[in-house]
Symmetry: C2
Subunit: 334 residues, 2 copies
DNA sequence: TTGAAAGCGCTAACAA
DNA sequence: TTGTTAGCGCTTTCAA
């Protein structure tokens, strides 16, 4: 910057101002400075600017994995909106581990983000402490924790799954199985399973419920297919299956078709997540859409307004997203 | 840090050292300092450290969109490996626009990344200039540009698609259609289309080739289904379709099945990308796997070794990935 | 509208 | 093993 200033015959301060948007520099000076900077191949150094102004322009985000269309949708809309506000996303993957999440969050906080968004509502004690004293807005998304750290943008995985159980029971299914991943890892998956149990209990069908474990999340299509194979071996009289996610439900559906079983004629299948896959698949698969892009944009909007009003220390908001049931051919009684 | 130093009764330099890994501090002092820091809720400030040491710990990455399983796979493995080396990914989305990419790259360079990875080999002149004079290793991935900026980790989209055409012709198909997105936006899609034309020409079948445009990338499953509908209306005697990506091929396949057309009996379908979807779908879909995770890990490995050897200015490497044809039921002559 | 001085929180370089 | 000094490249603050 000093070099640019010298070449342009102005002070470094003027160069600095020429690179900001609406500061007080004459149009003429600004253009000259920018042109010279471009010629000299000068690239502004945000690191130094951030240090001095104590504003990083970062929003930190942790998601369990990038390998999940739902989370990518959320991050995509979050990112698009925050970029518009001049903020960049600093993304980290916790790999479904709250210990890894703790480590990750510590790393991210060292970059002095202006806000932080975490997925889910279960964290280590130290994570809660780190986030609590970070002095920036904290948003927990994709869940509705009973004891939130600060702000929340999410939905109840449990009651959404109950809604799905209601739908299946309404359609006349009774012997229903749940296919999910390891619940120690995937807390949202665990909540969905809890919702399944609650729904079955409420309908007096808990004794007809079956459970198949699908391994470590994210549950793949292959794991869904394997789970269906296991289900058919263990509980061949099952009438319907609800899977913890759409890819698993799709895998389960193809396994049936491959074996000559009709879906839903011989076996009904439902998923979770509202993926495009479920709407296009043949048969279309019943699912519930938690509107991941809405979670992202609501979160972005919340963060923008919080930062405008001065950041941390404001009344904690709780935005509840209402997932939508999308009935498909895969559970329609023929 | 000053506060921590005072409380611990040491100098700031000692505190600084206590937070580095293998520097010269007595084990006792380090533990005491860390403990006090933890109690005081002190979080190390990377921004300042980066400014002083002129090392950001960032690797910048641009991808067209997060909404594409192939790119997420690449970023996932890239990220996992670089995190191991203490580097964080600074990710940006170009939205398939080289103008947006230019803007994005300028933003990213301001954060002083230690290396930068861009997707594809087509860029604006200014992008090339910015990258050329950034003084850091530059990797272009997912392509094999004829005139690379610096390092390359990728494969030829054109010749990979030619391989697919060979496979279809070998299976006996002649009247073959190509379904792809807008080629102005998606340069990899354009390369694949070129490869299709080259393959058909080589087999003397260009006059029997058909083309259906699927809109702006990334091409969705829905667009694939719509493209199939259009194809059946315009060229009902088509024998096989090759799609620019697997999701589109899946959509096209379901559209056939929905209309009572057998795949491959009445219409053969092939995709591109090696998605799990193609291996699980019923019928399984013929695809070609560019091994996105390998692209990521090869890129990570290249970057690690370049940074170890001092960063920019080293001999430009060109790592070619060999995509694998994965024949599926969707093109198998019955 | 422009400039000079001070300093953001850390580390390189050197000294003890 | 520990401490002192200077300064990374910018912006804040104050003055002209």
């Amino acid at each position: 910057m000093k070099d640019v200033a010298r070449t342009a015959g102005v002070s470094v301060m003027t160069v600095s101002r020429a690179f900001k948007s609406d500061r007080s520099v004459s149009q003429q000076t600004r253009e000259k400075v920018r042109e010279i900077a471009e010629q000299m191949g000068y690239v502004f150094d945000s690191t130094a600017a951030n240090l001095r102004s104590q504003k990083s322009g970062f929003v930190a985000v942790t998601i369990p994995t990038i390998d999940n269309g739902n989370f990518s949708d959320t991050v995509g809309s979050l990112s698009a909106q925050l970029n518009g506000a001049g903020l960049q996303i600093l993304l980290g993957y916790s790999n479904y581990s709250i210990e890894k999440e703790e480590e990750l969050i510590e790393q991210l906080l060292r970059r002095r983000p202006e806000a932080i968004v975490v997925t889910g509502g279960r964290h280590t004690e130290r994570t809660r402490r780190l986030l609590g004293q970070a002095g920036i807005p904290v948003v927990e998304m994709w869940d509705l924790p009973t004891d939130p750290i600060d702000h929340v943008v999410g939905f109840s995985n449990a009651s959404t799954m109950e809604m799905m159980v209601d739908h299946l029971v309404e359609q006349g299914y009774r012997r229903i199985a749940f296919v999910g991943g390891d619940t120690v890892w995937d807390t949202r998956g665990a909540d969905r399973r809890r919702g399944f149990v609650a729904g079955m209990t409420r309908h007096g069908l808990l004794d007809q419920a079956r459970f198949i474990a699908g391994g470590k999340p994210p549950i793949s299509m292959r794991q869904g297919a394997d789970a269906m194979a296991e289900l058919l071996a263990q509980y061949p009289d099952t009438e319907a299956v609800v899977c913890v996610s759409d890819p698993a439900a799709f895998g389960a559906t193809t396994e049936c078709i491959r074996r000559g079983l009709a879906v839903p004629g011989d076996m009904a299948v439902a998923g979770f997540g509202g993926y495009e896959l479920s709407a296009i698949s043949c048969p279309t698969i019943t699912t519930v859409d938690p509107r991941p892009a809405d979670i992202g944009s609501q979160t972005a909007h919340l963060i923008s307004s919080l930062l405008e009003q001065g950041g941390a220390g404001q009344a904690s908001q709780r935005l509840e997203i209402t997932p939508m049931l999308r009935p498909g051919e895969s559970t329609t009684r023929t």
